[in-house]
């Protein structure tokens, strides 16, 4: 309980999501072990840690994407605005509309750029007509910093874009359903440095409008884009705090060793 109160105090004022004693199992294997964390509405929260530490698995439990994996089981409690997302009455479709996700590898649908962005609004019935839908598509592409590059070729296939553009298209797609939280699972790990810089810039701009949780391998990236950082190791949450504190003055030796590059 000591850890929990400590974490609660550390979180910012506006708490968007809370996880309490969350464990995730793949079959009999425990991937995440009893993690409690608060996600602030106004900050970018970074999950860092070596490969296989459970950070992606933990991230995927925030919008129940683990449901799609056979044998995956989540224990504990995760709340979105005080509502238990694993409660039996929770509609997964609604949840995922509120908690969007961007994946490691850009995964635009093999449809036009326009259709990619319009996909979410269409299935959720967010736009009343063609003009409203056009507006949503344009706004989302603008927010994702892609509008200027694609405005003349909205009917081109989304898969014809470059890797970095594809990833920004995927972010635009996630934004289009107007989520409250955006989960990003190593969004820049498949991109070159210039595309990565654009994604990081975009994350900066999106901060405040959406609660953002980003999983990353790249510690410099975590330091650049996030205000809060959680360090995971072997399925455990080792340390969670302000990014500046984690990177300059970690309390735990394991965190310090990882950040100074001693392992991972």
């Amino acid at each position: 309980m000591k850890q929990e109160t400590e974490l609660g105090q550390q979180a910012g004022q506006n708490i968007m999501m809370t996880a309490r004693n969350v464990s995730v199992f793949y079959g009999g294997k425990m991937a995440v072990n009893d993690v409690s964390i608060d996600i602030s509405k106004d900050d970018v929260t970074a999950f860092i840690g070596p490969s296989g530490c459970g950070k992606s698995t933990f991230l995927r439990s925030f919008n129940r994407m683990n449901d799609t994996i056979p044998n995956a089981r989540v224990e504990g409690r995760i709340e979105l605005d005080g509502e238990d997302i694993y409660a039996s009455g929770m509609d997964v479709v609604q949840l995922r509309a509120r908690v969007g996700m961007v994946f490691q590898k850009p995964n635009p649908f093999p449809k036009s750029i326009y259709e990619n962005v319009a996909y979410g609004p269409r299935i959720h019935g967010l736009a009343a007509g063609k003009t409203a839908l056009d507006e949503i598509v344009q706004r989302s592409l603008r927010r994702a910093g892609l509008w200027e590059e694609v405005k003349d070729r909205l009917t081109d296939s989304g898969t014809a874009l470059s890797g970095g553009q594809q990833q920004r298209l995927c972010i635009a797609r996630a934004i289009a359903v107007d989520p409250e939280v955006i989960l990003m699972d190593e969004p820049a790990s498949a991109l070159d440095p210039i595309a990565t810089a654009k994604i990081e810039e975009l994350i900066h701009e999106l901060r405040g409008r959406y609660a953002i949780v980003i999983v990353t391998h790249n510690m410099q990236q975590a330091a650049r884009v996030s205000q809060r950082t959680a360090f995971f190791h072997l399925g455990n949450l080792v340390e969670y705090g302000d990014t500046s504190q984690i990177f300059t003055n970690p309390r735990e030796t394991r965190t310090k060793d990882y950040i100074t590059g001693r392992y991972g």
Partner: protein, 465 residues
Amino acid sequence: MRNPSLSLTAILLLVLGLGLAGWFAARAKARAFARPGETRPHSLPSYHGWYVLLWAVLPALLFLGVWSSVSGGLVMQAVMDSPAAANLPGFEMQRQAIFTEARALADGTKTAAFNPQATALAPVFAEATTRYTIIATVVALLLAFSGGAFAFTRVSPGFRARTKVERLVMAALLIASLIAILTTLGIVASLLFEALRFFSMVSPIEFLFGLNWSPQTAIRADQAGSSGAFGAIPLFWGTIFIGAIIAMIVAIPLGLMSAIFLTQYASATVRRWMKPLLEILAGVPTVVYGYFAALTVAPAVRGFAVALGIPGSSESALAAGLVMGIMIIPFVSSMADDSIAAVPQAMRDGSLALGATSSETIKKVLVPAALPGVVGGVLLAVSRAIGETMIVVMAAGLAANLTINPFESVTTVTTQIVQLLTGDQEFDSPKTLAAFALGLVLFIVTLLLNIVALRVVKKYREAYE
């Protein structure tokens, strides 16, 4: 050594024996210079062995292959030149009969001959056979020995036996693959020549666009009731109606839906059981489907038609098409299964993460992405369906009706080919030759469908890799 086939086996064994001896000798020689401390030889000892063996065996085998095709003629020539053959009858068939008997006597498969002239010729035959067998044996062994010896002298530490053996293996594999292709070309050529003969009697325009099919031609001039009309449109229509329309109306939705169920909804256990069960359908002999169509489905279809007040025939397009559709389901389902499974998981995750339900994801993302593969599978299925024979022979009927009523009997290209070629036929009448023209059309259409299907599938693959 009297039986030539027996002696051929003996020569083969001798040659192989020589080759084997060469293998051991070359390997021993190569091992001798593969001593530690010295520079490593280029190839392993066994490669030298194979090199010598191939040199010993292949030329000899090649010679024997050529020999077996000409030795019969040589023996014949010797017999014809002998004095005993001087007063043979001039009539070809009589002479052949005597030769056959004489050869049987010489081989020892017969002990007494019907014709005294055969008895006289037998020793000549035996003598000639023996002489040529000895020649063949000596030449083959000489070839084997000199080939092996030549190769053996080349065995040295620097000799690249491995490269040579590899090259030969490649050549052998190339020949193996060429055989299948050349056979196909031969089939096409034979089909083409017979079809051309047909088209010299019946104009291609009439054949391809004529609406009346009645291939019975008169054998004698005074025979009645044999118009000999070769308009194949009713057959083409029947084929398309059954194979491409009715069968696909059955197979595409069922195949696609079962593929979606198996890939997206079924648990691992269900999938493990259902997929092989479905694939068993593809292994059922088509004649069994034919029984099913003729004995079970066709009467049911007729009963249904009669209940509707439509005059139904006991052989109907619907019965054949339904059963053919069932037969095709595994093809469609397995192609659709493959192409849905090939859509990256990331696509599915992307859709689900936006809050789409499973069925929305399937409808809007998976199926469109998998569509080219599915279309390719359907085209392959169509090409199989229109070439299918047993079901339509048993259930579709023979009447060349040009109709869109599925309860009526129609006939197909394959059914007519069977009809035209069954029984005793003369191969110079347009009736029989029409079968080859039909076969050619079927072949071309199937080929085109396959090419298009493969291109579609390939293009789709490029999108993800």
